[in-house]
Amino acid sequence: MPVRSTPVAAAAEVPRGAWRVMLVLTLGAATGLFATWSAITGSTGFGVVSAGPWEASPRTGALDADPYTRAVVARRGLMPLGLGEGIAFVARRDDSGAPLVASCDYRVAGMVPQARVWTLSAQDPEGRPLANPVGRHGMTSAEVVRDAAGAVQVAVSREARAGNWLPLGEAPHFALVLRLYDTAVSGSGSVLEAAALPRIQRERCG
């Protein structure tokens, strides 16, 4: 006979009858709903294509999006770009992995993938444009000044800069969005080459 703890001691510790059912139901409801809540309040987790700090969810623009992506789109009231229109890359962190904060200056530098038109803009964590005194919230491929090799350098800061300048606002945190319109970048793989998108480097912090 295997050695067991005495029945009396076990009866004192293990819930019985209805309590066992209650315990299982409570645990199930709590973990299940918590998992759902964290999945839909986070960014679109599944089907994310990343390239360095940039992330895109190309399937948000198609009918075959996974349930997680659909749930995030519905809850946040998003109107995503369709796959046939273009693709949006969002960066919430710089190249080193640190969150983007508006008290620092950043430099977005490098090549932008082939697209008929692209725009680079800054938004607050809720996806609204950053309120700033200049009233400018983004720049486009038509406005940007390129170097001889075709690379772009954009200064992202609260203070005005010469050259390509994307103003930040009072909101402490922000995200950068690079939208490519009419592009061959489909994001059908899971990883784009990081070099295909511009780097985001932190400079001075105030």
Binding site: I40, G84, E85
Partner: protein
């Protein structure tokens, strides 16, 4: 392992299995339960079958019902539709301004998207239909002529079309808005179908 620990572990596993089921079921229910999805937000300002230009992103007039994650360079309009009784016809002319259309089915996603680059001879001509309407259209097609319009089968009878025009420089906002406003959208009268109309009582 004592009997007590094993018993508790068993209950915990049961609870976690139930948790996984609850999670999957609630995830699938979110799109149907989301009361503030894009279509619900648009319903407050855009009647069906009317092209409605959206206020700029972050505009206080939208009462917190604006659509997040919008491109500040884009002027956007929507045309909400319900193709239950008639198809939706959408026409746009290609110009120098970037123009794109995306056809959304609430809770399901974007079922088609195109830009002005796919315009045929400078025109975009789209009709959104149900399966029955598509069959009726095909029955009336002339046999010796190719179909010039793009026919889209709506995954659900209701939805909306988002229309974007880009202002590539700040001075082009008015031009982009004019491009968006020039898009025509509205219900399309179906050609009379012999048999089906007369068979209807009343």
């Amino acid at each position: 392992m004592t009997h007590t620990a094993r018993d508790l572990a068993y209950l915990a596993v049961l609870g976690l299995v139930l948790g996984a089921i609850v999670h999957l079921a609630s995830m699938l229910a979110v799109p149907a339960l989301a009361a503030r999805d894009a279509d619900a937000r648009l319903a407050a300002l855009a009647p069906r079958h009317v092209l409605t230009v959206l206020p700029p992103p972050g505009d206080p007039a939208s009462n917190g019902l604006d659509i997040p994650e919008r491109d500040p360079a884009a002027v956007m309009a929507v045309c909400r539709f319900d193709v239950t009784s008639a198809p939706l016809r959408l026409r746009a002319a290609a110009s120098d301004t970037f123009l794109s259309l995306a056809f959304h089915s609430p809770g399901k996603g974007v079922f088609y998207a195109l830009t002005d680059r796919s315009a045929a001879r400078g025109q975009i001509d789209v009709i959104v239909v149900t399966q029955r309407q598509l069959e009726a259209l095909q029955a009336g097609d002339p046999e010796d002529e190719p179909v010039r319009e793009l026919r889209l089968l709506a995954p659900s009878p209701t939805g909306f079309v988002s229309i974007r025009a880009l202002a590539l420089e700040p001075g082009q906002m008015a031009e982009a808005e004019a491009t968006v406003r020039a898009v025509q959208c509205g219900p399309e009268a179906m050609p009379a179908r012999p048999g089906s109309a007369s068979a209807r009582p009343g």
